[in-house]
Subunit: 222 residues, 2 copies
């Protein structure tokens, strides 16, 4: 006996998940385009970004419509405003996948510096963080959201590991500098994806537990 | 003959501006701590970040309260949801000022690579973008917001200029690599501040003109 509004809220969550899937695919494809040196795939990620942007706008409009029309109470209202904020994070993750693809296009033009090992590992963790943070949103599972927060340090550590390894390349052979710096950028981009996933997870904990854990002294919070 | 709600909306704008001022100060102090090699100032910026975070939470709570209590109509509702999103951008700019301060602390421990010239110029542009985007919000001035968007390319170009100059240092003298890479990070951080200001300006145009210009083919939009 769900009301029209309850169904609308379910649909809204579904649309956020759809945006999440698009963005997850953009992350994995951008990394694949780098690791497999597939510039066609990198161009595809860039071409598909407007789909992400369109869905971002659609969700925003739907949230405004629901608030204006249904005048939701505290809990539902928080769900809707949280959806609006989460959508902004997802859209920016999409932009970062475009950044990674642009670096892939450049790096694919030059000889490969070394096989990519840590970068795909980092990306896999970051992508899993995005997926689980959205899963936590839809299920209202704050324990899962809190668990996502603990993974941010793994990504940060891998980012430093990549940085130090590439520093070694650059110091030993100046010819590698341009490529190596671009790879440190990719590593930084992935770290930012993990930061966005952390932001989403913090908002989910806030939504579910009604507590402000953003900015508190918990792993990954800043 | 303003109503209580109209005064509450003015207060809300005032609080967003207050957060904007805190964040602007954090940007300029973080850059100053780098340029003047003042590690005490860098530590100050890091210590003051909780003030930014507290104000972010306060604005969020006030927005939720206003929506629930006043059931605002379309225009006011958009203003409030936009304020919530803008606040998130401002809080993250505060985080970036912390990142810059952390790099300043590290760089101040080593001999200076070269005088900083483009970095403070970039930071000044980015800071002006933040200030004017918020000014545009408060005045409902979409022309100003659109003008802010055009400045993003200047920051992007300076970022590439800094990058290329530092690349030259790194290639010529491997001993500079660690410092030079950290300075490219600072340059990237400033570019991200400009991106956040661009996001804010796009939201203001959207709010004022009721049009979605986010993601459209305008300078700086992505």
């Amino acid at each position: 006996m769900s009301t029209v509004f309850e169904r609308e809220l379910e649909d809204l969550k579904g649309t956020v998940l759809k945006l999440g899937s698009l963005v997850e695919k953009a992350i994995s494809d951008s990394i694949k385009s780098l690791v497999e040196r597939n510039s066609k795939l990198a161009a595809d990620v860039i071409d598909k970004d407007p789909q992400v942007n369109a869905l971002d706008v659609e969700i925003d409009e739907e949230c405004i419509r629901l608030i204006a029309l249904r005048q939701p109470r505290a809990g539902d209202l928080r769900l809707i405003t949280t959806a609006m904020k989460i959508t902004t994070d997802l859209e920016r993750i999409g932009d970062i996948a475009v950044d990674i693809s642009e670096r892939a296009l450049e790096l694919n033009e030059e000889p490969q510096l070394k096989p990519y090992i840590d970068i795909p590992r980092m990306a896999e963790i970051a992508q899993g963080m995005v997926r689980d943070a959205l899963d936590a949103l839809v299920k209202g599972d704050s324990a899962l959201a809190r668990e996502v927060l603990t993974r941010d340090d793994m990504v940060d550590n891998l980012n430093w590991q990549v940085f130090n390894e590439l520093l070694f390349f650059m110091i030993r052979d100046p010819k590698t500098v341009s490529r190596a710096v671009k790879i440190t950028y990719v590593s930084k981009y992935i770290e930012r994806i993990a930061d966005h996933a952390t932001n989403i997870a913090e908002m989910v904990v806030y939504l579910v537990e009604g507590k402000i854990i953003r900015h508190m002294a918990i792993p990954g919070a800043k």
